[in-house]
């Protein structure tokens, strides 16, 4: 009970801080929107997607949702580095609650906050002519949340090891771009050169983006873009399982790392 309450209050504080500073979110949606409108409009004319009937912008839009969640979730570790820099972390670490509950509260806070820009991006669906129903949104939410929790765990894990904001942001920038570009947001993960194929398959974000695309486009329409792993075509649930396993490993490491820092 005590530890659950700690998870809740740590989560709640991060939400509260986010709410005080909600304009920060403009930053989180600017990049995805730029990609969406510039790449979406600019490349639509020249991109033929494996002779499918799908517009490039329809293809890219679910990817952009995934990218938005991923970016925000990865940056969620920032709050932990702030807490270290401004000394608030000591207040938490000396409290009579387990380190695991502190890590969990931080991860859940980061993941919840990461959902919000993802939801805002969806508002642009009608504007760019992508078909979107309330049912789709409801189906997407758990997928987005799972991706957000997994990636947030990675962000928090890295943040526990970082001593300064500068170092954390540099590492995040280094990670973020490859994770986004190699996740199937901008091009289908099909018929790639071997080295690129390998990188996209080891990128956990690929398995987070694919289910979102499947839900938005429908099973049939998205079939040409599904991931092929060792000759096996990945189903939605298999992708989800990979993201979940990645998340469990990351959060376990984050908990461990939390209890082993001076």
């Amino acid at each position: 009970m005590r530890n659950l309450r700690a998870v809740y209050i740590i989560w709640y504080r991060d939400i509260l801080r986010f709410w005080h500073d909600r304009m920060r979110m403009m930053g989180a949606i600017t990049m995805p929107l730029l990609f969406l409108f510039i790449f979406g409009s600019g490349l639509s004319a020249s991109m033929g997607l494996n002779n499918t009937a799908i517009n490039y912008i329809d293809f890219m839009f679910p990817g952009i949702i995934g990218m938005t969640v991923l970016t925000s979730a990865l940056m969620g570790g920032t709050s932990l580095v702030w807490d270290k820099e401004f000394g608030f972390l000591k207040e938490v670490l000396v409290a009579p609650v387990s380190r695991a509950s502190v890590a969990t509260g931080k991860v859940l806070g980061s993941a919840t906050i990461a959902l919000i820009p993802g939801l805002i991006i969806m508002i642009f669906a009608p504007i760019i002519g992508v078909d979107f129903s309330v049912i789709t949104v409801l189906k997407l939410l758990p997928l987005m949340f799972l991706l957000a929790v997994s990636v947030s765990s990675m962000g928090i894990l890295l943040a526990t090891r970082m001593k300064s904001m500068e170092a954390f942001q540099m590492i995040m920038q280094l990670l973020m771009m490859p994770m986004i570009f190699l996740s199937g947001v901008f091009f289908p993960l099909k018929g790639l050169p071997a080295w690129l194929n390998f990188l996209t398959k080891v990128n956990p974000a690929s398995y987070g983006v694919a289910p979102i695309r499947e839900v938005v486009l429908g099973k049939d329409m998205s079939a040409p873009f599904s991931i092929n792993l060792f000759g096996h075509t990945m189903t939605l649930w298999e992708n989800v399982a990979i993201v979940a396993v990645f998340g469990v490993v990351m959060i376990a490491l984050a908990m461990w790392s939390f209890s082993h820092q001076e």
């Binding site: 309450r5 209050i9 740590i10 509260l16 500073d21 608030f88 207040e91 000396v94 300064s164």
Partner: protein, 327 residues
């Protein structure tokens, strides 16, 4: 073990080769105000960190409220309150939001939560400012809020690491009023570190710590009695000659400091009139004072508390520096 608030036996904390805390032992009784007095880097903060479970001892034992700081961390954390040397508030939240967070994480029962928060905020006179963001608070107000937060969950032992560092004299007095009031009203045991002598005087007992070792533990009065004698400072037109005269005539040792000669004499007030009359070297100025904790410290360690110790404390200083730079 049972009636001691804090018990420390042969505690050592090493960072690499350097022993920040080098084999110290002491205990603190229930309801006592106990002061750790020493220069920066003496090992004060390291000791607090160990007692508050934030650092592990390299060897030795320590118990707070009867709980072992290594094996019963949760129980120790439940029974202590802590005001850190560096700020540890969430400045983006309001005063009351900071306290609510604390009340929740320390499991203050929801029935009394609001009441306790109001009580501690009133005590530090911040109730009117409770809804303001901490960013808008002055340094003294932040310190008071931290003190209120440390008390919110009714700790048995309150740790204060340099509680008045960098505060103006008025705020310092105010904080001391709270501290002594707390001891009287609630019987809270208070463990504090300081390098202000005048503050250390207010503690019931003091441990003087230098280079990771405790050099003396006693009440401020007893410690000053150790020096015992009054301190006489004179300035003459020929200090070398004067020193010789003092030594030969009164068998007293002198010490030169900034063109002045300093020597100690019991019953100095009776001694001075005769001294002035008989002394052959011309005296330009003369003063007498009662021994202070400064003198005790000087006598015990051979150096003054204010000068930074380069050797032995470098690592701790570097750590402090790193933290200020955004560690």
């Amino acid at each position: 073990m049972t009636n001691k608030a804090i018990e420390v036996i042969n505690l050592v904390k090493k960072y690499g080769q350097l022993a920040a805390v080098n084999d110290i032992s002491f205990d603190v009784g229930q309801g006592e105000i106990f002061g750790f007095l020493g220069p920066n880097g003496a090992g004060k903060t390291t000791t607090i960190k160990i007692l508050c479970t934030l650092a592990r001892p390299s060897s030795g034992q320590a118990a707070v409220s009867g709980f072992d700081v290594v094996h019963q961390q949760r129980q120790v954390r439940e029974s202590i309150g802590l005001v850190f040397q560096d700020p540890s508030l969430d400045e983006k939240l309001s005063g009351i939001q900071n306290l609510r967070f604390h009340a929740m994480i320390y499991d203050v029962p929801s029935k009394v939560r609001g009441q306790r928060i109001e009580q501690v905020l009133n005590m530090v006179e911040l109730w009117d400012r409770r809804n303001n963001k901490v960013t808008s608070y002055s340094g003294g107000m932040k310190r008071r809020l931290e003190l209120a937060r440390g008390l919110l969950h009714n700790p048995k032992v309150l740790f204060l690491d340099e509680p008045t560092l960098g505060l103006d004299p008025q705020t310092r007095n105010r904080i001391w009023e709270y501290i002594t009031g707390l001891q009287k009203r609630e019987g809270t045991t208070i463990f504090l570190t300081t390098h202000y002598m005048d503050e250390a005087e207010k503690a019931n007992r003091i441990a003087i710590i230098d280079n990771g070792k405790i050099v003396a533990i006693d009440t401020p009065t007893k410690l000053k009695e150790m020096v015992g004698k009054d301190i006489i400072t004179i300035r003459t037109d020929d200090n070398a000659k004067a020193a010789e005269e003092i030594t030969s005539r009164y068998q007293l040792e002198t010490r030169a400091d900034n063109n002045e000669l300093i020597f100690e004499k019991a019953g100095g007030e009776e001694f001075l009139p005769a001294f002035i009359k008989e002394f052959n070297t011309e005296i330009l100025s003369i003063s007498l004072r009662r021994p202070s904790l400064d003198d005790v410290f000087l006598k015990l360690t051979g150096h003054e508390i204010r000068q930074e110790q380069a050797s032995g404390s470098f690592k701790e200083m570097a750590k402090r520096f790193g933290r200020n730079m955004g560690h």
